[in-house]
Symmetry: C2
Subunit: 211 residues, 2 copies
């Protein structure tokens, strides 16, 4: 299947948060650029495009981040009740080294100048824009048979130092990005019994919340 | 073109923040449900699925919200320097009544229980999940020839009251949703000279920020 042809509905259906299915090959530069271009086409409040992407491939950097994340994993595990800890144990939470490519998505809240059209009453729409770009990236990657795993077991300060973020630039996500041999049909957290899916009918209301 | 067939890359390219192109017809129920299902398939931290969708169609509610937004527009306009105010004047910022359907996307940060897998170090990943759902919705709508316009000129407290959000449920967005006769090729804020596009090459760095 040609990447250009995967339908948006299929991409939404097939997309997974990937941890264990990376092939070990690097995503090639042309594919990576198409994926980043898709991210860069996201909507943004006041057309501020407040995102940046730091592509990380140096083995020592990937290893340092993976070690840091492993430590945070232990902290989380040790704070769980025994039954939840047992459910959590087999769940892989990152593929930092295996994917071979990390994309650190960052946010610059000053971008767009002092009057960002649409951000006056809801300032959070700035960072929301950066998050919208991540979903574009994720779906385009899916069309390329490239997996994305969002890692959030980290201290923001550690990640800031790791990739030298200047003052005013906030890390939003570390994405593991690499070719995969398959996408799981059922999301990991469902397969491992961490948390079941919610019915859409419970999430949709009419006219009023709860209506 | 069948909605099921629009490629993800084309959806990303064609998608616009729509204000002026609504046909005035209502999006039909089946289409609306497909769009909401796409939103509901978004990734979420710890599989928490912390979003809800309030579909608003009562004319009086749409009108009340539109009046509120019109007031916020005037406030923003009056705070601009003269040259920016002149650029802003012709820019339409909402299509609340014309679209006929508002979707209020809300966030419940308590969803997923006391230990949300992946949210311990970066609690904001909760609300980021809800924003990812919005981008799924937006791209699926594009495939359906349905426009989405994200309105952010409002006081969150006003919107809370308008749709009766309970304590602990946060409004994230008002989306105007309706069939469109076309998608603009160039985003409104570029066409009207509000803010030009940034080059992707400026947004991509290697190994370190600025690298």
């Amino acid at each position: 299947m040609c990447a250009e042809q995967l339908s948006v509905y299929d991409a939404i259906r097939l997309r997974r948060d990937v941890r264990a299915e990376f092939t070990g090959e690097l995503v090639d530069d042309d594919t990576l650029w198409r994926i980043l271009s898709a991210a860069h086409r996201a909507p943004s409040v006041g057309n501020s495009q407040p995102w940046d992407f730091v592509v990380v491939r140096e083995a020592a950097t990937l290893r340092r981040f993976a070690d840091h994340v492993a430590g945070k994993r232990v902290e989380f595990r040790d704070a769980l009740p025994a039954d939840r800890a047992a459910t959590f144990d087999p769940i892989k939470i990152e593929g930092i080294v295996e994917s071979g490519t990390g994309i650190v998505v960052t946010h610059d809240d000053r971008r767009g100048g002092p009057q960002v059209l649409g951000r006056a009453s809801v300032p959070e729409t700035g960072v929301y824009s950066t998050v919208l770009a991540i979903q574009n990236l994720w779906l385009a990657a899916t069309a390329e048979q490239v997996g994305v795993g969002w890692v959030s077991f980290y201290e923001p300060g550690f990640l800031r130092d790791l990739v030298d973020l200047p003052e005013g630039i906030t890390p939003i996500a570390w994405l593991c990005v690499g070719p995969v041999h398959e996408f799981q049909e059922v999301p990991d957290l469902e397969r491992f019994g961490w948390r079941a899916r919610r019915a859409l009918t419970d999430a949709v209301h009419y006219e009023k919340f709860g209506g």
